[in-house]
């Protein structure tokens, strides 16, 4: 049986264990005079039996699924004749993929050497065997542990405490999974980044003003010497983010002020969801809006004024990105402004302040730290945004502050470096990881700063 099916079977077994455990606790309670003589409710006895049945079986299943591939590989390679045993890691993976191709029928047996065909047969046999062992073991563990859990149900057993404790660990495992994923991402990026800095010096990467990662793929190929200076990319990112924030902050903030202070409840109920709809539009849609509508408009308009403008401009990408970010700023600011106590508004209005004076002198200063936090979160969103800039900002790594020129950003370069054919030992591919690491650090720093500011704000009214 496949691991996924087996997982479903285990769940069904656990449900059966639940029903049986529930029934057993009730039948034990009946002679005592009702379920109030049980230490816990029948639900907890059932849940306890289900946990006993499910958890060990799932652990066995998980371990088996995780290690069977590696073990089978070792067995297959070990059975090869001595002269075919690969000497390098690369050759080994080549050989293994050839064997599995033969086994899956993608490569007709006639095209492979006899030992490989043999190994492929052995691989198929081992896989089938492994599936049988796995099925048998998992079902056996589920039934046995479930039975143990079931038979040990006693009226005096505090099943509730045990179930609660187990649930706590299950929740913890879910939280840990998210953290482990983040750690995994960090490590995968970090190792490649270190390899990149083995090829390209820190100084060139951080201070170089040239970015042209096209390097020769073969020794005899005629190609430029690659240049890996990240300065033009980060200035491009900063330029576009700055344009985006110039659009998003005033519009978002003022609409938040309108929504929270001026709009009637009815208008607010309509406008707020509409504004938040902007955040729900896929970025690729924004991308072609920027590339096909806004960018030509800007370049035509600039041309009519006699200014030279590129057909792909930082202004188009940044402006559209700003529109996309408006709901981030407006929603967060709206929440923060609403969190300012009504008593402060009343206090100011009762002194004869107008609504706008109250906003300017009392509400806004009180909400400012929270608003700053929201803006910083929006900035980190802008820095990490990819699709719009890929489509509208261009690929040319110009070191410029002119928003009408085409620039490129860190994210765009990562995309271009990692799409298509790659080889993982060239500086060109590894550069993507170095850029990713820098981007990660930058947005992480912004997020930490934003959270810090928001938390500081929260303490003020508690």
């Amino acid at each position: 049986m496949q691991a996924a099916n087996l997982f479903l079977v285990t769940i069904v077994l656990a449900l059966v264990a639940y029903v049986l455990g529930y029934a057993r606790s009730r039948s034990l309670a009946t002679p005592l005079g009702g379920i109030r003589h049980l230490k816990s409710l029948p639900f907890y006895y059932g849940a306890r039996a289900a946990l006993w049945c499910g958890i060990p079986a799932l652990i066995v299943l998980g371990l088996w699924a995780a290690f069977q591939g590696k073990v089978i590989q070792l067995l297959v390679v070990g059975s090869l004749p001595a002269e075919m045993i690969p000497d390098s890691e690369g050759a080994a993976s080549l050989l293994l993929s050839k064997i599995s191709n033969v086994a899956s029928g993608a490569l007709p047996p006639g095209f492979a050497e006899p030992p490989i065909v043999e190994a492929a047969e052995r691989l198929t046999a081992l896989r089938a065997q492994s599936r049988w062992y796995m099925t048998a073991l998992v079902v056996a563990v589920a039934v046995l542990a479930g039975f143990l859990g079931w038979i040990r149900i006693q009226p005096r057993l505090n099943a509730r405490a045990q179930v609660e404790k187990t649930l706590k660990w299950i929740f913890f495992a879910c939280a840990a999974l998210a953290i482990l994923t983040t750690l995994g991402i960090i490590f995968s990026v970090a190792f490649e980044t270190i390899r990149f800095f083995g090829k390209i010096s820190f100084v060139e990467f951080f201070f170089g003003t040239q970015w042209s990662p096209q390097t020769a793929l073969r020794a005899d190929q005629v190609a430029a010497e690659g240049a890996f200076g990240m300065v033009p990319l980060f200035t491009g990112t900063l330029l576009i983010s700055a344009i985006a924030m110039l659009v998003a902050v005033p519009v978002g903030l003022l609409s938040a002020i309108y929504l929270s202070e001026y709009a009637s409840r009815r208008v607010r109920g309509i406008v707020k969801p509409l504004l938040e709809l902007l955040a729900g539009i896929p970025t690729v849609v924004y991308g072609f809006f920027a590339a096909l509508t806004v960018a030509p408009f800007i370049s035509n308009f600039a041309a009519s004024l006699g200014i030279d403008a590129s057909s792909q401009s930082a202004l188009a990408a940044g402006g559209v990105m700003g529109i996309m970010i408006i709901p981030f700023v407006s929603s967060l600011s709206d929440d923060v402004i609403n969190a300012v106590p009504q008593t402060l508004r009343d206090g100011s209005l009762a002194l004869g302040a107008t609504q706008s004076e109250t906003m300017k002198k009392v509400i806004f200063p009180a909400a400012l730290p929270g608003i700053m936090g929201g803006i910083l979160l929006a900035v980190s969103r802008a820095i990490g945004e990819t699709m719009i800039v890929v489509m509208a900002a261009g690929l040319a790594a110009n070191l410029t502050a002119n928003p009408l020129e085409s620039v490129t950003t860190v994210t765009v370069q990562i995309v271009t470096l990692l799409t298509g054919d790659q080889e993982f030992d060239s500086a060109k591919t590894l550069a993507a990881f170095a850029l990713g690491a820098m981007l990660f650090l930058a947005t992480l720093a912004l997020n930490v700063l934003a959270l810090h500011i928001v938390r500081k704000y929260r303490e003020q009214y508690e």
Binding site: S264, R265, P341, T343, L344, R345, D346, G347, S348, L349, A350, L351, G352, A353, T354, E357, K361, V362, P365, A366, Q460
Partner: protein, 295 residues
């Protein structure tokens, strides 16, 4: 107490005033005559002249045909069970009800013969003349100095820094806070004790030189010592201001006010000299309330 009668008003008046069931011998509606207030609701040459005032929250009539005069430089206390409309009525006097969408006010409300609810009336000017102190101390999260200077600044009352300094000092002195605050004017106001904060709010209201000060249960969030200080302050302030105070404490009403108005279910039942209200109330509902039979 033979029949238990519960009368619940659906008044949505103040969010912090939840209506409570009222127990009495007969339903209040049969005792109260709408618009007929016993005692002395009227005065010669009043500061506020309020006639046939009605307040609606949506469909609910929260204030039912109230007529009342508030004399110059008097301290008048509004008392009554929770949800009786006293805070709502108070908030009509400086139009603080305006910010509630569903609230409508009907009737003639005059401050020195000027219509308060004239559509052309500037509420900013009205509120500069009619200051307000709230139930919960609500200093702005600014320095003590900036809190007091807030009103004078928005109304342009001081041309020079030294004028502003004088206003701040005088206001704090009048609020009895100068000695405690003079060395920490730049400290943030939210760091003060509750009683100090409330006196700061009074100083803040005084700083714009209002003619009237409305107080909405100003001591309900304060401890007895801070309460005593605020009451002392009210007595001093009554020389120069007209003060309208809503209170849940009958002792407080008895201590600080000249006249007392008793509200019940949106009706103004009785207005009389405070002494008389607490010793010989004219209306049986007033008597029930002050003797603690409900409320």
């Amino acid at each position: 107490m033979n029949t238990m009668n519960t009368t619940v008003t659906k008044e949505a008046a103040m969010p912090d005033e939840t209506p409570v069931p009222v127990q009495e011998e007969r339903p209040a509606e049969t005792i109260i005559q709408e618009g007929a207030t016993v005692g002395t609701p009227f005065a010669d040459d009043p500061k506020f002249k309020l006639r046939n005032v009605e307040v609606f929250y949506g469909q609910d009539r929260a204030i039912k045909n109230i007529s009342l005069d508030i004399a110059r430089n008097e301290v008048i206390a509004f008392i009554g069970p929770s949800g009786c409309g006293k805070s709502t009525f108070l908030r009509c006097l400086n139009r603080m009800n305006d910010s509630i969408d569903i609230c409508r006010v009907k009737g003639d409300l005059h401050l020195d013969d000027e219509n308060i609810y004239d559509p052309k009336r500037d509420v900013v000017e009205l509120r500069a003349r009619v200051g307000m102190v709230f139930q919960k101390p609500n200093p702005f999260p600014k320095s003590i100095y900036d809190n007091v200077a807030y009103g004078p600044r928005i109304h342009g009352l001081a041309n020079r820094k030294s004028d502003l300094d004088d206003i701040v000092e005088n206001s704090l002195r009048k609020a009895g806070l100068w000695e405690e605050a003079k060395d920490r004017l730049d400290a943030t106001a939210t760091g003060m004790s509750g009683g100090q904060q409330q006196r700061l709010c009074i100083a803040r209201a005084i700083a714009v030189s209002p003619e009237v000060i409305l107080m909405d249960e100003p001591c309900s969030a304060l401890d007895p010592i801070a309460t005593a200080k605020v009451e002392e302050l009210i007595a001093e302030m009554s020389e120069s201001y007209t003060i309208v105070i809503v209170t849940h404490s009958m002792q407080q009403a008895a201590r600080v006010s000249h006249r007392t108005a008793y509200f019940h279910l949106g009706h103004l039942v009785e207005v009389n000299e405070t002494n008389k209200v607490f010793t010989a109330p004219e209306h049986e509902l007033t008597e029930s309330y002050i003797t603690g039979r409900f409320g």
